[in-house]
């Protein structure tokens, strides 16, 4: 048995049993972050804070929400919104955070792509991050079902129909997912479970893996510079802070992080208090009705780009294109054949052009996904969808010929 001595105080008592000083060093004060970074490196913390906001507001909503097809709509739109004190606050925080979290995820992803933070040992950071993106998407979709409005119902209908896999007509699979011929009580009950238990558990586990994946390769820096963290941290600890290329995670880096987080939170609560409408589709304020379809069925803004990849093609081709779009970002570390870890603008014109064309293409797809599929919008949507594939096919080729920096 380990040897314990009479503790000199509370801290020593805990140290003997939990090694809290050592844990603090490993997790914070001697976890090293490069100096040459910018505000985009704070997006991870912004996401963590947004997830916390979702969790806390969700806990309060959960106490009054009723997962029953008869009462769900009123439990949200009457009980929570009218009766519960500050019920509106939790709902608007939850809805706005669910929308904004995707904006930050996209910025976080594009930052990673721009600076090449997905290769040379950082592949698992990228892959665990993509798994988080997929799980967040499922979380967003399952949450969207819960108010049981018209958009909930019809989005549930259309999205579960995708699992029939087009001409394969796997209607049994669709009915199994729904537990019914159409979205009903069984459907609402299981999506409620997924939304409040299984998927949040998966997200928390994946966040743990995502952070763990950072420890060995360390976070990337603006210049893609590779340096020895042991050497640099020793310099720092020896007092040569100016000379050292690293800073402590806490409190040095955290204080910068928290500055960005506070700017973000001002913007966030401005949205919550004055501009929450964008996160609440008016169509979803009609209760679910299986006998009336809304005139336009469209997803929330963050799914529009992949929806637009599905839409311009015939059913089967569209489904294959959609499936491709969902998984192709996972393969990024392996499709980028260049050894360079550097900002896109320093990797040569080809990759810089690829990056910005991808950004523009995603924005165009998003815009076209929202517009009705008529006339010129149809054509723009089709070419933007085709452009998405051309860019992915071009990636291994242009990066193969990239000059080594």
């Amino acid at each position: 048995m380990a040897h314990f001595e009479k503790a000199t105080g509370m801290r020593d008592w805990l140290n003997q049993r939990l090694a809290i000083d050592k844990v603090e060093k490993v997790m914070a004060s001697e976890y090293w972050i490069p100096k040459n970074i910018n505000f985009l490196w704070a997006m991870g913390m912004v996401l963590a804070i947004t997830f916390a906001l979702l969790l806390v507001s969700g806990i309060f909503l959960l106490m009054y929400y009723q997962p029953n097809v008869e009462t769900a709509f009123d439990s949200v739109n009457y009980t929570i919104m009218q009766e519960v004190e500050f019920g509106w606050l939790w709902r608007h925080v939850h809805a706005v955070a669910a929308s904004v979290v995707f904006l930050i995820i996209y910025i976080h992803m594009l930052t990673g792509i721009y600076y090449g933070s997905y290769k040379k040992g950082r592949e698992m950071i990228w892959i665990s991050g993509m798994l988080l993106f997929v799980t967040f998407s499922a979380e967003a979709f399952s949450g969207y079902m819960l108010p049981w409005g018209q958009m909930s119902y019809w989005a549930g209908m259309v999205i579960t129909n995708l699992f029939a896999a087009g001409s394969l007509e796997l209607n049994g699979v669709v009915e199994w997912i729904r537990g019914d011929y159409v979205p009903g009580q069984a459907f609402l009950g299981r999506f409620f479970m997924l939304h409040v238990l299984l998927l949040p558990l998966a997200i928390i586990a994946l966040i743990g893996i995502h952070f763990a994946a950072l420890r060995i390769p360390h976070v990337n820096n603006q210049d893609g510079e590779e340096f020895d963290f042991d050497v640099e941290s020793k310099k720092y600890l020896a007092g040569k802070k100016k000379e050292s290329k690293v800073i402590r995670f806490a409190n040095d880096f955290m204080s910068k992080d928290m500055f960005v987080v506070s700017i973000f939170l001002m913007f966030f609560f401005y949205l919550v208090f004055w501009q929450y409408g964008f996160a609440m589709d008016p169509v979803n304020f009609d209760p679910a009705d299986g006998l009336v379809t809304p005139a336009h069925i469209y997803p929330e803004w963050y799914f529009l780009w992949s929806y637009e990849i599905l839409r311009p093609f015939s059913r089967d081709v569209g489904l294959i294109a959609f499936a491709f779009a969902q998984v192709i970002f996972f393969a990024l570390p392996f499709l980028d054949r260049s050894p360079n870890v550097a900002a896109a603008n320093r990797r040569g014109i080809a990759f810089a052009l690829w990056f910005w064309l991808m950004v523009i293409d995603l924005i165009v797809l998003t815009a076209m996904g929202k517009l009705p599929p008529e006339g010129i919008f149809n054509d723009i949507g089709l070419y933007a969808a085709l452009g998405f594939f051309v860019l992915w096919i071009a990636l291994p080729i242009i990066t193969k010929f990239e000059k080594k920096l």
């Binding site: 019809w154 259309v158 129909n161 009915e175 199994w176 019914d180 011929y181 069984a186 059913r315």
Partner: protein, 165 residues
């Protein structure tokens, strides 16, 4: 030892997966509610009646004599015929993305407002994007009564003829 342990654990894992899969199957009460009966003799001519089957809307239209006389054989193959009365009975969801089309009395056809698809009075596509005709639900005839949710001889004949999938 390892193999024996693995085998026992494997059996347990497969067993639990089966239990989990079946827990998600539609409940017997849901399946039992999967039938609707409709008395077709009460349906007026050229007037669209909307019924419900398995939570989905069903269009029922009794065709007029002109409609029957002027239709092609592919259209006639989709009719439910009782005596000399011809009925259209289809699931009222566009086969494109599942919106509900509207009946246009002037043109005697269906138009889907979502993406502009059109179907003729027999539910066949006259304007894309729908990939296939409106779906005829499984049915069984008993005199004037049609039972939706069970495959009767007339439905099976349609199936053999390739009218329904």
């Amino acid at each position: 030892m390892g193999k024996a342990f693995g085998a026992v654990a494997g059996v347990g894992a497969v067993g639990s997966l089966i239990a989990m899969k079946q827990t998600w199957d539609p409940l017997p009460s849901v399946k039992a509610a999967g039938f609707s009966t409709i008395d077709l003799s009460l349906i007026p001519e050229n007037e669209l009646v909307v019924e419900k089957w398995r939570g989905k809307p069903i269009f029922i239209l009794k065709k007029t004599a002109e409609m029957v006389a002027s239709q092609e054989s592919e259209d006639a193959a989709r009719d439910i015929i009782i005596g000399d009365a011809h009925y259209l009975v289809v699931i009222a969801l566009c086969t494109h993305l599942g919106c509900i089309p509207a009946y246009r009395d002037a043109k005697k056809d269906f138009k889907c407002a979502c993406h502009g698809g059109e179907f003729n009075v027999s539910g066949r596509v006259t304007k894309s994007p729908p990939p296939s005709p409106l779906v005829i639900p499984p049915y069984k005839l008993d005199g004037h009564i049609v039972l939706l949710g069970e495959e009767g001889p007339e439905y099976k004949k349609m199936k053999e003829a390739g009218v329904v999938a």
